[in-house]
Amino acid sequence: MNLSVTLGRMTLKNPVVLASGTCGYGREIAPYLDLNTLGAITVKGLSLFPWEGNPPPRLFEVRAGLLNSIGLENKGVERFLQEDLPFLEALDTRVFVNIWGKTVEEYVAVARKLDAIERIDALELNVSCPNVEKGGASFLLDPEALRELVGRVREATGKFLIVKLGPKLQDWEVTVRILEEEGAEALSVTNSFPAMVVDVERMDFVFAMKSAGLSGPAIKPLALKMVYDLVGMTELPIIGMGGIMTAEDALEFLLVGARAVGVGTANLVAPSSAVDILEGIKAYLLRKDMENIEDLIGRVR
């Protein structure tokens, strides 16, 4: 059975990718699953300097979903390189690094630093975090700012460049054209959805930032539609994600044309989820008597 997929010039041994922010820097989740069985791991969003993130509470469970307001807490690119890179060096899977900045310059600086590290296979530009004012979704609302960001990062690195989108896209066609023109090589679709919850007893927002990002099963039908729509708009390969909990969920994304799938919240529900999903995909291919996972991708359009 051939499970390997290509995203442009990038080959993954299989389409299952751990989504950023839900697998730490790799080491934390490693005791619970064999990372080498997966297609790739995307480490937590890194910035130039360590970042504290948002005050608690940072999580709130809603029906079939999770609201998070982590606020991109991370140890910064330097400490990551010191503390975590050695572990990642030893892995036999693709390593994607999710990055963000408060300014274009910060994005560029992080990209430069990571560009120098051979072990890192791809950079994933987070332009869609619903939880920080800068360095996030604002780029999706301003096509020209997005163009500058992606263009400048593209100049700064020769790494495979993924751009992570969210639902706050202003004009999809315009956004996609810009990303194509500026040298993005793949899209991650989607980040969590801007959402809100109010504590009616305290008569206040649950989160200090008022809104938060919704992920998990609740968003799956929405994310699937986004991926379907975007597959129809661009030749760029898409890593589909949003609420994937089971192999069936992952297969839905592949069938509508995603070339890989990201597993996020499911890792929190059970850290071995991604491996279970991969096993389920294999079982499905066997059952359907399909030799090649490519035969599946984009079959339902």
Partner: protein, 254 residues
Amino acid sequence: MSFARICRKERFGERFVCFELEERDIASQARPGQFVMVRPGFRVFDPLLPRPFAVLSANDDRFSLLFEVVGKGTELLSYLEVGDVVEVLGPLGRGFSLDARFGILLAGGRGLVPLVFLAREFEKRGILFSFFLGVRKRKDLALLRLLEDLPRVLWSCEEAVSGGFCGTVLDLVGKCLERALWQGAKIYACGPEGMLRELATVFPGKEEDIEVALEARMGCGFGVCLGCAIPRRGGGYWHVCSDGPVFRLSEVVL
């Protein structure tokens, strides 16, 4: 995550349920203060996340949990019966230090869970301790069954109980623990945030020798989501699941 069969179920009062679970790895590794993540074995996604519970006891191939029914997750768990299976992950986190000469254990409500485990460990190691339990409602005194064979157990209840001390566990401690008694002791506490916050006042100057087992809303329980942040003394955040759940009082801002 592994599957554990419920092999005993017991109710304590109206709101507490105790499960004995069969799972050799957790049972053999768990230490006092550590916790596990638990999901009911229904294949549904509301509730979505597993819930964290401290380990109550562990031996050979079984361990126990005791939980209070407070929301939909614990309600769903409470419907499970002997023979049903739950998903569990653990043991997780950093437990209590076990190097006390004399221990004072302070439990508020369900906060007794990790302290019962600690008390048993102290017994095994021959470490002396006193156990203070405070509960809110008369019916919660059913929890005393867990402490039956321990020496030096004192309890209080916020509802008036004939023959019992009326007040919080810290009121009780204030009444009967003299400074001389606690000064050489190590203090272990678990309970509502308000109670833990008050500890610094009740035991002035002891912040280094007080260990508290904290709760926080958790996502993963094993350090990847960064959801369980609490303020760190001196700035920044701890993560309760991986840096804790046991902290020295001097390390945290409550």
